[in-house]
Chain length 141, copies 2
Amino acid sequence: MSAKQTKTPLSADVVEAVIDAINFNDQGLVAAIAQQFGSNEILMMAWMSADAIRETLSSGQVCYFSRSRGELWRKGESSGQTQALLDFRWDCDGDTVLLVVDQIGVACHTGRRNCFFNAVRDGEITTIAEVEIEPKKLYGK
Amino acid sequence: MSAKQTKTPLSADVVEAVIDAINFNDQGLVAAIAQQFGSNEILMMAWMSADAIRETLSSGQVCYFSRSRGELWRKGESSGQTQALLDFRWDCDGDTVLLVVDQIGVACHTGRRNCFFNAVRDGEITTIAEVEIEPKKLYGK
């Protein structure tokens, strides 16, 4: 894929300038949307700390902050479903990051390609995407 | 546009079932991503309260909750840059909503089409999108 626009690793100076531009919330986190390059499919939304951004911009692989575990969450570390960073953007008021990525396999822990599979159809709440990889295969070891 | 998949107005029963499925945060809000139908461009990220969701699913026009003003924010009410709701989805853990919309004009208060115009290019933080409508024209009355 030749679409890489944020060349990693970025220098430490630039990484810190990016972090200065982000408005982290009271918990020191910023919302991060992951979008598949090419199709523009929205894969998931999660949270990043300053250290998660540092790691992402250094390694070129997306790293979030897990609010439930209270630690860095290197996406795909357990499941193999990694996200290679192609572009790192942020919004007008600095409280949301957009990660353009190349997703290996599936983004969702349910084994679906993306997390946004709940919708209303014909007046009923329903699931609009199929499981592509059984969670057992993703996490069963 | 014939892509409308969430037929509004939804019945009150279905609206309340959707709200029951959402995991609102401590402030009673849920993150909401707006995406343009067709291009799949990510326009913006904002927040919705239960009442904002009720209004959106009743009117078919996107209504957020303004954290700064502490009130419902009918997108485009001042600027005319409205978002017609085409599909309402939510994610695996119910803490993010995806609004597929048809955006009139520009989504960003800076007059850019979308809010994610900050990026790193050639080792420098830069702006990657032009202003399409001067903010004065959007808000100056």
